[in-house]
């Protein structure tokens, strides 16, 4: 597709359930990022991928959060046993990345809004 696509756009779930959020980056973009944004605040870094590898997982809030990327393309962010504090907009972005030269433009999807009741 022409841009970064995220699904679902909205997800309402009950506390304790697992959720999966999907990101389809721009074709050919090697670097893929996940961020979390609460109440229109700044973006909280979660994880990024260079190809299928995740060099930095330091932003994942707990072991309930995991992410994978297959085929250098689609990525899935999984949140297990969701808690109310997980409610936020989860943003995915991609860019063409020469490893270690992160000056390129990040292209964002419109986000997945997660509400945990």
């Amino acid at each position: 597709g022409a841009g970064v696509s995220q699904s679902p756009s909205n997800k309402v779930t009950e506390k304790g359930k697992d959720v999966e959020l999907r990101c389809d980056p721009i074709s050919g973009h090697t670097a893929l990022y996940w961020y979390r944004q609460s109440l229109g605040q700044g973006l909280e870094f979660l994880i990024y991928f260079q190809g299928n590898s995740a060099p930095d997982k330091s932003g994942l809030p707990s072991d309930r959060f995991s992410a994978e990327r297959t085929g250098g393309s689609v990525s899935t962010l999984t949140i297990q046993r969701t808690q109310q504090e997980d409610s936020a907009v989860y943003l995915c972005a991609s860019r063409q990345g020469l490893a270690g030269r992160a000056t390129g433009e990040l292209f964002f999807g419109e986000g997945s809004r997660l509400t945990v009741l």
């Binding site: 973006l43 870094f45 000056t103």
Partner: protein
Amino acid sequence: TQLLEQSPQFLSIQEGENLTVYCNSSSVFSSLQWYRQEPGEGPVLLVTVVTGGEVKKLKRLTFQFGDARKDSSLHITAAQTGDTGLYLCAGSSYNTDKLIFGTGTRLQVFP
């Protein structure tokens, strides 16, 4: 842990006024970007600065990267209602593709 603090957090001004947004850190960055985000959308890149002391102009917007590469500023001249949005700085460290975003500055420009 790298942190990027932005100030002010909120800014409400009238059309025609000038404003400056600051982005500060104790860490050194190899490059710094500024993005603008509108409600319901993802952030969109405004500019990238890579050299300490660099100044870039984009129409009424002027961006500066500090000499020590730890801070940056965004100055808007004669603000317009279309400038309304959330402004975010983002920094990258050397030899990594990790991009850290600032705390954000929400700008509201009234007619």
